[in-house]
């Protein structure tokens, strides 16, 4: 009788433990994105333009260098910061200035920003400035989108392909 009772109690204890294991392996459900929302992701990798243009070395500068290092052109390594603005229906959604990475500030930056926005029709404006030698944004892009629920809209930036694009 005592053995039988023990087996019953063991079964109850195992059941409670497995119930806990099962429950927390799938529940409670987590709502990552509300039903009527979509996501806009701004994601690109880009190196800003050099802070100043390449120039010719003067004869004096060339003479001061060892013969094997007398490159007539001198180009600064440091890159410009990248300033980005994102507007949704003419309201500022995001703005940030990304400083170049690296010890000499000569690396590019990788940007990945995610924004939850209401689903539906929107106007998106993107602006980017990647040179300290220009006064205003040198890349501007505007697009009308119709976002479905849970849709992921990616904003990419590739200057060799003309700048911003969405997909």
């Amino acid at each position: 009788m005592k053995t039988g009772l023990r087996y019953i109690l063991q079964t109850i204890n195992y059941s409670i433990f497995m119930l806990i294991v099962w429950y927390f392996s799938v529940a409670p459900a987590y709502t990552h994105l509300d039903v009527c929302q979509s996501v806009v992701v701004l994601a690109f990798g880009h190196a800003g333009q050099s802070v100043s243009k390449c120039r010719k070395r003067t004869p004096e500068e060339l003479a001061a260098l060892p013969p094997n290092m007398r490159n007539p052109m001198i180009c600064p390594r440091e890159r410009s910061p990248i300033e980005v603005e994102l507007l949704l229906d003419d309201k500022l959604l995001f703005t940030e200035i990304f400083n170049p990475q690296g010890v000499s500030g000569d690396w590019g930056v990788d940007v990945y920003r995610r924004f939850n926005v209401p689903s539906g029709k929107h106007n998106l404006k993107m602006r980017l400035k990647d040179s300290v030698r220009v006064k205003d944004f040198n890349y501007i892009y505007e697009v009308d989108v119709d976002l479905k629920a849970a849709q992921l809209l990616t904003i990419d930036f590739q200057p060799e392909k003309g700048g911003f694009s969405v997909r």
Partner: protein
């Protein structure tokens, strides 16, 4: 302080004592509720499973057993898994459809992995609440935290491989966390934008999940138990069968299923998260990846430095006295914490070996003192009882002197009961009656069996040894070794001529004081009855 009661019967029957006892139990409970809850659940499980199969006494080995299930089921799952971006999800779905074999294997893999984390969390909370993480135990605690992280990373990488919407959510979240580290420079998350992913991703994840992390985990677990001897890596058979059957039944009733196939053009909305592994990801909706990482590192660091918040002073380590050591190596065999090793004799004596103690590893439990054949109180060659290995703070000579003293104090009593207790079971100082004498040791494993004989021969009617609960010795093996010594299964053995009815060896936790009192009262009645007859 002299007790106002004539005997234990009067003491235990008094209202004053009963009220004091109730107050103590309540006070102790609220002083450390988690510990007391464990002790009560332990008692319940001891009844249901028996001490040998009590899961709470085998949480470490149970985790090992569950990892074996994870490994074996994982190997099967890998054989039928397709490591490609298009084939991964389909191959997992095909497994689920074959419910009677691959489906069960997949479910076993999932649920055993979850059970590992549940068991490890219980293990951590238990060791913390029972104060088994500080002092000489710091190393096991400190090295345990990285193992928990490795297990979680192993689980996370497994979830990626299914390549359903949960995998997509986990993969993007993980990439954001990795991008927050300076070494990844923010480029990883962009891999998961539509069209940027290749099959190489699955090859990499399969390598990490199947080889990289498991190898690191095995190494980490080896380090984790490095300072323990006779590590229990095999779970008792009853517990193994029960756990496996429970997992199998769960796998049949609630098979593991996937979410919808991953689609990088949408964002998963509602997710059935596995909270054992994926609890960090929702934080990304409230904190930046960098903040989330800092939080995780801060919690882990806090967990790791717990042994020093505050630190626990371990009494001075045992000292070897080669003048009383024949190099039998029993102390080396019995030490639970690998603090004793044997080396060639250095004093020119005729014995081959001698023990050497590493003070940094010594718990000062005194188990080795109890195992030394020289710790025999009946030795008459010297006025001071010296033994081969001894505790500086509580030497064996002091215990013999205390025994003599209490026997003298009991000499006028009608009933003479001597109780040997330990520092981690019931506090014997609260049991104060004229017919009882108590002596507390660091661990009952320190008591050489010859002391039972000695105490009975010098006037005690009965000897009661009250250690920690069976299978749950604070110093791992103290009560286990003493039990074997008493049964004659381990040296030094108890003399066979000692009347087994005149002593009792029991295991109680601090919540079991009423049982101990009942035990004492039964012994007292037996002695009185024997006296009358």
């Amino acid at each position: 302080m002299k007790s106002p009661y004539q005997n234990t019967h009067q003491l235990f029957a008094s209202d004053e004592y009963k009220n004091t006892l109730k107050e103590q139990i309540l006070k102790n409970f609220f002083h450390n509720p988690i510990k007391h809850m464990y002790l009560y659940v332990d008692a319940w499980f001891n009844f249901a499973f028996g001490t040998k199969n009590n899961p709470l006494y085998h949480l470490g080995s149970l985790a090992f057993f569950l990892l074996w299930i994870v490994l074996v089921s994982g190997l099967y799952v890998f054989v039928v898994f397709d490591t490609s971006i298009t084939g991964a999800f389909q191959s997992v779905e095909a497994m689920t459809e074959q419910w009677y074999l691959a489906g069960i294997m997949r479910s076993l893999h999932r649920y055993a992995s979850d059970a590992v984390i549940a068991v490890v969390l219980l293990h951590i909370i238990r060791e913390f609440s029972l104060d088994r993480y500080r002092g000489f135990r710091w190393f096991s605690w400190f090295t345990g935290t990285p193992n928990l992280w490795l297990m979680i990373l192993l689980g996370i990488s497994g979830y990626w491989l299914v390549w359903d919407q949960l995998a997509q959510y986990v993969a993007i979240g993980s990439s954001q966390l990795l991008d927050a580290l300076p070494i990844f420079s923010g480029a990883m998350s962009r891999n998961f934008l539509s069209g940027n992913l290749s099959d190489r991703f699955f090859t990499l994840m399969a390598f990490v999940h199947l080889l990289g992390l498991p190898v690191m985990l095995v190494f980490g677990l080896w380090i984790h138990v490095k300072r323990l001897t006779k590590v229990e890596v095999i779970v008792p058979r009853g517990l193994a069968i029960g756990s496996f059957l429970a997992l199998l039944i769960l796998s049949l009733i609630k098979p593991a299923v996937s979410h919808e196939q991953a689609d990088l053009s949408i964002v998963p909305s509602v997710l059935n998260l596995d909270w054992f592994y994926l609890n960090v990801y929702p934080l990304l909706d409230y904190f930046t990846p960098g903040e989330t990482l800092i939080l995780a590192v801060a919690i882990s660091s806090l967990l790791m430095i717990m042994p020093w918040l505050p630190t626990k002073r371990t009494p001075p380590a045992v000292v070897v006295d080669l003048n009383h050591c024949n190099g039998c190596s029993q102390c080396f065999e019995d030490c639970p914490f690998d603090a004793i090793s044997m080396q060639a004799r250095t004093d020119g004596a005729r014995w081959d070996m001698e023990p050497i103690v590493d003070p940094a590893l010594c718990a000062a439990c005194g188990i080795c003192v109890g195992s030394c054949p020289y710790s025999n109180p009946s030795r008459r060659s010297e006025t001071r009882l010296a033994t081969g290995i001894d505790l500086p703070d509580q030497p064996i000579h002091q215990i013999r002197t205390a025994t003599k003293t209490v026997l003298t104090e009991l000499s006028s009593s009608k009933v003479k009961i001597v109780i040997f207790g330990c520092n981690h079971g019931i506090d014997l100082t609260e049991i104060n009656a004229p017919d009882i004498a108590t002596i507390t040791l660091p661990c009952t494993g320190m008591l050489p069996p010859a002391f039972i004989d000695y105490t009975l021969r010098h006037g005690a009617d009965s000897v009661l040894i009250s250690g920690c609960r069976s299978q749950d010795c604070y110093y791992r093996f103290g009560n286990h070794w003493l039990e074997k010594r008493i049964k004659g299964e381990r040296t030094p053995i108890l003399n066979k001529r000692v009347n087994r009815e005149h002593f009792e060896f029991v295991g109680y936790a601090e919540i079991d004081k009423i049982q101990l009192l009942k035990n004492i009262e039964t012994i007292r009645q037996r002695i009185l009855n024997e006296g009358q007859s």
